[in-house]
Amino acid sequence: MTSSEIPSGTAYAAEAALRPRRRRPFTFARVLRGAAPYLLILPVVAVIVAILGYPLYHLARLSFQKYGLFELIAHHGTSVGWANYSSVLHDSVFWHVLVRTIVFTVANVVLAMGIGTLIALLLTKVSSIVRVLLTAALVLAWAMPPVVAVQVWLWMTNSENGVLNYALTKLHVGDYFQHDWYATSFSQLSLATSLIVWGAIPFIVVTVYAGLSQVPHELVEAAEIDGARPWRVFRDVTVPILKPIFLILTSLSIIWDFGVFTQPFLLIDQSRINTSNELMGIYLYEEGYVKTDFGRGAAISILMLLIVALLSVVYVRKMVRAGDEAA
């Protein structure tokens, strides 16, 4: 196999589209080349299917069964058809939780993507000492396990001796003596948002910053020499190149934030969870696990999967299409 015989993959596709169709020789070399993509994806597919294949099938089957603790011990449940789905979809709590979670997800994604991108851009503009400090802070924030971050947040917002109440009172922002930050749903979810966004920003910053490294300096300088303001340079030069990365990060953020569980659950605490502050992930945990109704929990899981797929389909479509255009 010589290089003259094999053009680059990108040009190849274009050429193939333009060339008149002709039969291609069926050699071993060509078979191997044709099989290449399949060989490349085989390990990934194998791992995923081997580990998740049965659990997924089992989850789907569970959603059509009555499966509580008794059935778990007996190792089989009784089929109830669509009863689990019907009971969930007829539960008004489910719909309230859904709306609340969508609003929560939008807020988190917008804040994280917005702040993250701005910080990534800032990193290109600061002197190296500040860059190192800021990157260090981001990595440290990233490295903190969510359960530990929750404990720190709880500590800082402790009504008795939390530093937040202390600082706000000292700075005369208001009287925050023994203010209970977990009294209202809005306050609880806002604190959860602050925690999640704080934890999500580092990944976004690092990824966007890495993506910025792929933006050729020449293009940026050319645009600047032409007199374009920074915003236009960003919009016309940087964004198109970063588009696949933005789409990926946004779609991943939507998926993760929609189903988030650990942070809001630990922050609000079981003793204050009720139908006015539940998010989807918590709702699933309460209905499926706390009440040990695994069949219902499975139905909620499948519904969550479908909803999240629906919410992110726009971005996923764009990503696939952007990939097709570039390839």
Partner: protein
């Protein structure tokens, strides 16, 4: 022009420092608390730092049963998961980004679909499957589980980076003679290095901090990972040892930071060296 540059840089630096303070504050709070004696920790007025710092929390944490086992197990699980996942994900990402093949759409659906699964729903079925193959209470069971969660987004993010490489770069580097596949790998690898680094950091941190599956799959305390070890600080029915928890968390964070320091140069390198190579 020069003065304006300096002024704007000063402004950026100021904003950068402010952000540094805000973002690092919770981390600072955790580390500072690890050095505070119990009285300062429980005091009514929070103190920025203790006047009588103590190392007792750290020594308590290290001497707690299974600390070193926890660190060792986490290191094994995470390094194997990240190494294998990066290799496999990169290969799959190359396939997705550079080839058109039937079943591509199905593979994409698989990759994205897996990420949309609510993990909580999978715990028990996954446990049953792994138990059947004796992978419960074994690090290998945890590794393959983590791989299924790390691979999809790694493939997805790496695909994005591969697509972002301008065509000119690919073609410019494609000149020397070698097989298409081999050249793809050898040439694309350095170009996509920043993306690989970002993804590997994410994979490292996510698996290092993962807790839900580790605690269910590992029973022997000698096999448990560091995050499960940490949960024993706040899992008692009595009062939590806050100082110990903060000290333990600080210690657990060290390997992550070390890993980041080792690989972070690739990102900066990409930016400062310019994107097009000779």
């Amino acid at each position: 022009m020069n003065a304006r540059r300096r002024r704007s840089r000063f402004l950026w630096d100021a904003i950068g420092l402010l952000l540094f303070l805000v973002i690092a504050f919770p981390v600072y709070w955790m580390v500072a608390s690890a050095f505070k004696p119990d009285d300062d920790l429980n005091a009514f007025t929070p103190t920025w730092f203790s006047l009588h710092p103590t190392l007792s929390h750290f020594s308590d944490a290290i001497h707690r049963p299974f600390f070193w086992d926890g660190v060792k197990n986490s290191l094994i699980v995470v390094s194997v998961t990240v190494a294998l996942s990066m290799v496999l994900a990169f290969l799959a990402a190359v396939a997705l980004a550079k080839f058109r093949f039937t079943g591509r759409k199905a593979f994409i659906v698989l990759i994205i679909g897996v990420q949309m699964l609510p993990q909580a729903g999978l715990i028990i079925p996954l446990y049953v499957v792994l138990a059947r193959y004796h992978q419960v209470n074994a690090l290998s069971g945890v590794i393959v589980t983590y791989m299924t969660f790390v691979l999809p987004f790694s493939v997805w993010v790496l695909r994005g980076f591969l697509l972002g490489i301008p065509k000119e770069l690919e073609e410019a580097a494609m000149v020397d003679g070698s097989s298409r596949l081999g050249s793809f790998v050898r040439i694309l690898l350095p170009l996509v290095a920043p993306g690989l680094v970002a993804t590997s950091i994410f994979a490292f941190i996510t698996t290092w901090n993962e807790y839900i599956f580790a605690r269910v799959l590992l029973n022997d305390q000698s096999k448990q990972t560091a995050t499960v070890w940490l949960s024993y600080f706040y899992g008692t029915s009595r009062n939590t040892d806050w100082g110990g928890l903060m000290a333990g968390s600080t210690l657990i964070a060290v390997p992550v930071i070390v890993f980041f320091l080792l690989v972070q140069r690739k990102i900066a390198f990409g930016l400062t060296a310019g994107a097009v190579r000779g």
